[in-house]
Amino acid sequence: MSRFMLRSLALALLIASAPVSAAFAHCFVGGRFFPAMLATDDPCVADEMSLPTVQYNSANPSGREHDAGIDFAKRITDNFGIVVSSTWTRVGPPADDGTNGPLAYGFQNLVTTAQFQLLKDAQHELALLAGVIFNWGGSGAAGVGAAPWSTITPTVYFGKGFGDLPDGAGFLRAFAVTGQVGYEIPTTSLDLVSGSPVPQNLLWGTSLQFSMPYLKSSVVDLGLPDFINHLIPIVEAQFTAPVANNFGNDFVITGTVNPGVIWVGSYFQVGVEAVIPINRSSGTSIGAVAQLHLYLDDIFPTSIGQPLFGSSTPTKSMVMR
């Protein structure tokens, strides 16, 4: 057995032997559950894995792009976690090109994210999260657009459910919004190949979601079929704007709006969204993204579903009465 395998096995055993504790794990805030999303991030540290996320992306104007990605999120402590993301990309010729075969394929740059849970306010269904996203330049294939430089993106995330509205608000109480804002800082200011500046970007995204599980358990049980009661219709949007070091380039905001639906189960969720570019710089046709997302804290409740160090914090309501 190689040293690499021994290291991996040791890591696995360490994770597996972590203590059992009261766990809140994936994104519950009071009675509200924020699902993992496909284009933006939920506002919680968690033990989760997306395997896979597949996307047909029209954002690449030079060809048809297909992506297959994996995200692995692990809590180190109750409030601190990391996310590792990797995406394999295949770029084919444009639909009207008339040729066959891929133009290029390979991995995008590896992305790692460190996240810290700032707040979970159960009464107001409010969650705040701070994170730093590291995109490791040169770790991916240049042929699929992976940059040779790295980027660092400090990001804040929030989630707010409207369950704290008065009962008279009715169905509105099942809505929730999430959002994130980040500032992307590249490790170089000049692309030596093209000779053009590498801009600093403002990245932001948001989602509006209507939770059928919340409607049934906290607002009104309409006696709908079980499948319907597991659905969360959602609209996500994500945008990028160059805000500094953009000399000589056009100022163009790019982004997509993604309407879709997420089915939430006890151990996993499945999401499907359309990817609608907001302008021609963002894409030339509508794409699609689908994701199978596993709740590791529910699948492995006594091992990998626990933080590596320390225990989860019981809520006030867990105190014996």
């Binding site: 690499f4 395998m5 290291r7 991996s8 096995l9 890591l11 696995a12 055993l13 994770i15 597996a16 059992v20 504790s21 009261a22 766990a23 809140f24 794990a25 519950f28 009071g30 009675g31 894995m49 994996i70 692995f72 590792v84 990797s86 991995f107 590896l110 159960a122 009962d167 599980p213 049934k216 358990s217 906290s218 607002v219 009104v220 049980d221 006890s266 151990y267 709740y295 804290d297 529910d298 699948i299 492995f300 409740p301 006594t302 091992s303 990998i304 579903g305 019981p314 809520t315 309501s317 867990m318 014996m320 009465r321």
Partner: protein
């Protein structure tokens, strides 16, 4: 890095996967969530999607003034909570519950029901 992650995940598969359980969601309540009942119920029943740890699960019912109208300690068996109620007059009542599933996942929630309107 990618190889380390994948190998670690595969190595973990034998651990814990067979005893998989999940968060306890409220599956059904009687009186129903958000309902109006003409006859005052004598008991609140809550059914969850997972078995509960009785010592760390419970519920309470309060009237519009915030006064508790339940009879105290709930009976918890398997995935259900049963809570006796005092005689209820017409009005709106709020149920607050918390649950610890047997694999130590916590959940909580609340809902209202009305009597006699």
């Amino acid at each position: 890095m990618r190889n380390i992650i994948v190998t670690s995940m595969l190595a973990l598969l034998p651990f814990g996967a067979t005893d998989a359980r999940a968060h306890a969601f409220l599956d059904h309540a009687e009186p129903r969530v958000g309902s109006t009942v003409q006859t005052a119920p004598r008991e609140l029943s809550l059914s969850f999607t997972q078995d509960l740890e009785p010592a760390f699960s419970g519920a309470e019912v309060r009237d519009a003034n915030g006064t508790r109208v339940d009879q105290g300690k709930a009976k918890i068996s398997g995935s259900s909570i049963h809570l006796g109620l005092k005689p209820l007059s017409p009005g709106t009542y709020r149920v607050q519950w918390h649950a610890l599933s047997v694999d130590t996942h916590t959940t909580e929630g609340s809902f209202s029901f009305q009597v006699g309107h």
